[in-house]
């Protein structure tokens, strides 16, 4: 499985991949102050953005898919802007302008490892035009639910194992409508430098809908906004995010066997992330 050039700014340091690292306290404190200011600005300006979304949502439409694409385009621009800000403010380094259009045309299932909270914003900010499963606690928020729903996102699985029936149906309906679907197959954030076992949801959908899976490999050095590294206490060295788009994986190659497909793709991820796991 070939790896295309990575998005984002290439590593200037040439250092080997590293897990979360500390550093001089004053540098971390400076970055922390900028992070606090950014969160404050977001908190003050965010409600206006949500209000705009709410107004767009309230507009009557006969074409819900068209409105969903329009709202997805706004998400795309908003997340791209957010990453430009984060780069400008030297909170993290990632440029979403690179490698746009590297995904296949038409519906597909995009999967990615999930080292940090910024993965979703980075992927959507780079490629745009996709739907994803949203954590139930966030999806059910009274403020976000209308906008998320109108843009085609759907509620992620609950703790009920049989809730997957709904997830498969929701995923299928989005793919049938021509949307790209983003799924993090680990179901939670990755352990630092590693991977959890992949679930089969993405691969089951790919096999059922006969659509390709496009794996994205995310590398973060040092990891920021993982479960251990919080927003308000970033690492001293500037966190650098890279996204690599691997070749699309067709279910026909695995005779539409979601287990085989999952195992093969997981093995590929382990190969690509081996330096991080060393």
């Amino acid at each position: 499985m070939n790896e295309r050039p990575e998005t984002g700014t290439p590593s200037a340091s040439g250092l080997p991949n590293q897990r979360y690292e500390g550093g001089p306290t004053y540098r971390r404190a400076a970055r922390s102050v900028v992070a606090v200011l950014s969160v404050t600005a977001y908190t003050l300006l965010g409600p206006f953005g949500y209000l705009l979304f709410a107004l767009l949502y309230a507009l009557p439409t006969r074409r819900p898919h068209r409105r969903a694409r329009f709202l997805q385009a706004i998400f795309h621009r908003a997340f791209a802007f957010m990453h430009h800000w984060l780069r400008w403010a030297r909170i993290m380094r990632y440029d979403p302008r690179k490698l746009r259009g590297a995904l296949p045309d038409g519906p597909c299932i995009i999967i990615a490892n999930h080292p940090s909270l910024t993965d979703t914003t980075a992927i959507i900010g780079t490629f745009g035009g996709m739907v994803t499963m949203v954590k139930p606690a966030i999806f059910r928020s009274w403020m976000l639910k209308p906008v998320l729903k109108a843009s085609g996102q759907f509620e992620g699985p609950s703790s009920d194992p049989l809730d997957m029936q709904r997830i498969i149906a929701e995923g299928r309906s989005r793919l049938d409508a021509g949307f790209k679907l983003l799924i993090f197959p680990e179901g939670t954030r990755s352990p630092e430098g590693g991977l959890h076992r992949f679930g089969r949801t993405a691969f089951t959908l790919a096999c059922q809908a006969d659509l390709p899976v496009v794996p994205l490999v995310i590398r973060y050095r040092p990891v920021f906004l993982s479960k251990r590294c919080r927003m308000l206490w970033p690492p001293a060295r500037l966190p650098e995010l890279n996204i690599a788009v691997l070749d699309a994986v067709e279910p026909t190659r695995y005779q539409h066997d979601s287990r085989e497909m999952r195992d093969a793709v997981l093995a590929t991820y382990h190969q690509h992330l081996a330096p991080l796991q060393a």
Partner: protein
């Protein structure tokens, strides 16, 4: 298939979910089926629910809040099947 519900369930899990590297006897009755135990995923849960319906004639509902407890282990699933069978008699 002869045997207790627990034994039948273990064979069903191996056969229905095509777990080539696991034998039915290796499955511990009280061990969790998902994630940290046998390592099944939620798609396995769906397939297992269909297989249980086919084999035992009992059905779990997708929106049942007890599903998590029901599918926790072979023992909990067997208890559920016994209770459903008694109720239908």
């Amino acid at each position: 298939m002869e045997g207790t519900i627990e034994e039948r369930l273990k064979h069903l899990i191996v056969d229905a979910l095509m777990l080539d590297d696991i034998k039915a006897d290796d499955i511990v009755t009280e061990e969790p089926l998902f994630v940290e135990g046998l390592g099944l995923d939620s798609i396995d849960a769906l397939e297992l629910a269909l297989a249980v319906h086919k084999e035992f004639g009992v059905r779990t509902q997708a929106d049942d809040e007890n599903n998590r407890a029901t599918f926790h282990s072979v023992k909990s699933l067997a208890d559920f099947i016994r209770a459903e069978q008694q109720r239908s008699e």
